[in-house]
C-alpha cells in the first residue's frame, strides 16, 4: 500500500533519532488548533484504528479544514507518528532512567517491592496516556518495521537494566535460578498481557491496588497453594 510504503521509507533512519526530532518539532509551538487536531486524531485512532479513520472525519470533529491538517502534518502517516513517537520517547527512556532509579533504590528490599513499584509507575503512565497507548498497540500489530525498531530499542534500553535487577535479586537467592532470558520472557508476557488486556482490550480507565497486588503476587508465586509462601 502506498501509505505504508511511504512510511517505511520514512523509517529508514534510526527510529530513535526520529522520535527525538519529531517530539521537538511537534511538542513545541503547537497552536490550539494543532492540539485539537491531535486530540481528535488520537481519540479516533484509538477507537477505530488508523486505517478506519478518515482525515475528513478528523477535520470535521476538530472543526478545521482538511487543508489545515495537511498543512501541519504533511501526510496522514506523519500525523500518526507525531502521536506515536513522542509517546515511545517518553515511555522508553524515562522507563530506563528515572523510573529505574526511583523504583530500585527506595527501600526495595525484595523483587516483589520492585515489581510493585514498577507496576504502579507504569500503570499510572499508561492510564494518563491510555488512548495513545491504544493507538500504539493497535498500529504496532500492523507495522512490522516499527515493531522491530521498538524491539531493538527495548533490547538496548530496558533489557540491560532489568537484567541488573534480576541478577541482583538472584544473587540474594530471592529469584528462581533460570536463565535471565527465560525470566524476562515470562515476565514481559505477563506484564504486556496485563497492560494490553486491561487498557486496550477491556479499555479500562483504572485498576485497583488489589488487582496490582494480585498480579505481583502471581508473578512471584504463581497459582500454587502458598502453604510456605511469603505473603
Amino acid at each position: 500500500m502506498e501509505t505504508q510504503r511511504g512510511s517505511e521509507v520514512w523509517l529508514q533512519n534510526n527510529l530513535f533519532d526520529e522520535i527525538i526530532a519529531y517530539a521537538k518539532e511537534t511538542s513545541l509551538k503547537q497552536s490550539a488548533k494543532q492540539k485539537k487536531i491531535l486530540e481528535v486524531a488520537i481519540d479516533m485512532f484509538a477507537k477505530k484504528g488508523y486505517s478506519n479513520t478518515s482525515t475528513a472525519e478528523i477535520a470535521k470533529r476538530a472543526e478545521v479544514s482538511e487543508g489545515t491538517i495537511f498543512k501541519h502534518y504533511g501526510t496522514k502517516d506523519k500525523m500518526l507518528f507525531s502521536i506515536i513517537f513522542p509517546f515511545i520517547k517518553s515511555a522508553l527512556p524515562s522507563l530506563a532512567n528515572e523510573v529505574f532509579r526511583e523504583i530500585f533504590t527506595e527501600k526495595t528490599a525484595t523483587f516483589e517491592d520492585f515489581l510493585m513499584a514498577f507496576f504502579k509507575n507504569r500503570t499510572q503512565f499508561i492510564i494518563e496516556n491510555r488512548q495513545i497507548f491504544q493507538v500504539v498497540v493497535k498500529e504496532l500489530i500492523y507495522r512490522e518495521e516499527l515493531r522491530n525498531e521498538l524491539l531493538s530499542l527495548f533490547q538496548e534500553n530496558i533489557t540491560p537494566r532489568i537484567n541488573q535487577v534480576v541478577d541482583y535479586f538472584k544473587a540474594q537467592g530471592k529469584l528462581i535460578q533460570l536463565p535471565n532470558e527465560m525470566i524476562l520472557k515470562v515476565l514481559f508476557t505477563f506484564i504486556g498481557g496485563f497492560f494490553i488486556s486491561n487498557f486496550v482490550w477491556l479499555n479500562r480507565s483504572t485498576v485497583s491496588d488489589d488487582e496490582v497486588k494480585t498480579a505481583v503476587r502471581f508473578v512471584m508465586h504463581g497459582l500454587s497453594s502458598s502453604n510456605e509462601g511469603s505473603e
Copy 2:
C-alpha cells in the same frame, strides 16, 4: 465507515447463532474456488489486515473474478466472518467439550498436568490455524461489538468449566485460596499473552516443549526462588 456500520447491523442477532449458521453454510458446499478465495483472504488479512486488503487483490491472487467473490460472500465483511466464525466455533466449543474431557480425565493428577495438557492442546490448534488466529486477534481489536460477544461466549461456555477445574484442585489444597475470578484473570492474562506474543506479535510458527514447561512452571510457582517448590 460504511463497512463497519454494515457489519454492526449484521451482528444485531446473536453471534453464536450466526456462527453456527455460517459454519454450516461455509464448511459444506465449499467449492475449490471458494477455498482458494478464503485461503488467499486469510493470508492477506493476516499479513496486512482486513482494511488494508482490497477485494481486487484477493480476486487476482485467487485467480477468480471480483464478481465471483461477491457471488459467494455478498460483502467483504461477510467474507471476514466466514473466516472468523468457524474458527471461533471450533476454538470455543471444542475447548468447552472435547478438550476439557480429553485433558482433564487423563491422569491429570495436578493442576500443573492440566495446564500442560491445555497449553499443548491449544498451542497445536493455534499453530495449525495460525493465520486465522492472527486475523481474529487483529480484527477483534477493532470491533468492540464482536469482542463483547466473544467475551459473553467465553463467560457462558468456558468460564464455568475452568471454575470446576479450579474448584477441584482448590479442594485438594493444591491451588491458592483466592476468588476464582482473580485466579482466572491472571491465568487468562498470561495464557492470552503467551499465545498472542508468540503467534501474532512474533509470528512464530512453533514453540518448544521447554518454553511451554517454563510457562507452566511460571504459572504455578512464579519467579520466586523455589527452595520449597515442587519442581
Copy 3:
C-alpha cells in the same frame, strides 16, 4: 512533483521496449469506452496541456466515471504515455524504414526530390495525428527524461539514414561540403520549425503544396537571388 517523479521511475527501462509493450497492450482489446476516453484525453491534452486537464473533466466529456479511467490506465501519467508512446513508435521506426525506402528509391534524382517526398510524407502523417503531435510536442518541452530518450532514438534510428542520403548526394556534388552534423542541424531546425509552427503553434490542419515547395526551395537555395539557382 509526485506525478513526475512517478513517471521517471516508470521510465527507467528502455523507452523503446515500453513503447512496444504499451502499444500492444493498448491498441488491442480496446473497448468503445476506452477509445472514447483516449479520444477525449488527446483532444484536451492537445488543447490545454496535460497538467491543465483534470481526470474529472476527461471522465465527464467521455461520459464515463472517473473510476473507469483509472481501471484502464491506472494513473493519469500512464494514460498520457498510452497516447505518446504508440505515436512515437509509429512515427520513428516507420520513418526509418518504409519512409526511407519509399522516398529514397523512387526516382529521387536530387536531394530536392528526396526532401519533397519526405516533407509530403511526414506532413500527411502529422496531419493525420495532429492532436497527438501537439500533445507530444507540448509534453516533451517539460519532460527532460522523455526528451533525451527521444533524442537517443533519433540518433540511433534516423540520423544514420539521413547521413547515408546526405553522403550520397554530397558524393554527387549536389550538396554543400559541410560536416554532416552541421547540415543535419540546420535541416532539423528548419523541418522541426516547419512542423511545429504550422501544426502546433498555428494549429493549421493543412498546408498547401506551394508552401511545401517554397520550404524545400528554401532549404536548397536559401533566400539569395537565384540568378544561378535551378528553380
Copy 4:
C-alpha cells in the same frame, strides 16, 4: 481551469496597453523582495513550467511569506505576466526600433550582413534572458489568446520593418523574387526554430559564432552545393 479563466478575463483589454502598464508598475518600485520573488519564479517556471510550480515553493525559495507574493502580484497569473510582459515589451519594441537602426545602418551592405547582425543581437538578448525566454515559449504554447495577441503585435510592429529591409535588398537584386509573405514565413520558421531548439529544447547557454555563420549561410544559400555561391 480557474487560473486560465482568470487570465482570460484579465486579458480582455488590449495586451499592449497592459504590457506598458505592467512594465511601468513592475520595473519602477521593485523592492529587493519583489526582485527575489520574480527571480525565483522565473527560475522555477523555466524549469518546471508554470502549472507545476506552486506559490508555496516560490515563497519558500524566495524566503518570503506566501502573503507577500499575493500582496505584490494579486494572483499567480499576474505574477506570470509580470515576467512575460516586460520581456515581450523589450523584445518587440526594441526589436522594432533600436535594433533595426543599429543593425541596418552600420555598413550592412548585404542581407547576409543584416541577418548576421540580427542573429547576433537577438542571440545575445535571449542568452541574457534565457530563462524568461523559456517561460514565454512554454506558456505561449498553452495560451492561445496570448499567442494571438503576440502575433498581432508582431504583424503591427515587426513585419513592416522587415518588409522594408526585404524590399530594400530585393530592389538591389540580392534577394529572391518571392512574395514577402513567403520570405518572411520561411525566415521566421528558421529563426524561431534556431532560438527555440538551442535555448529551450537543448537549454544551451551559448552558441558559437560558427554556428551562427552556418545558420546565416543556410538562410542565404540553403544546402545546395555552392559552386556558384558567394561564400
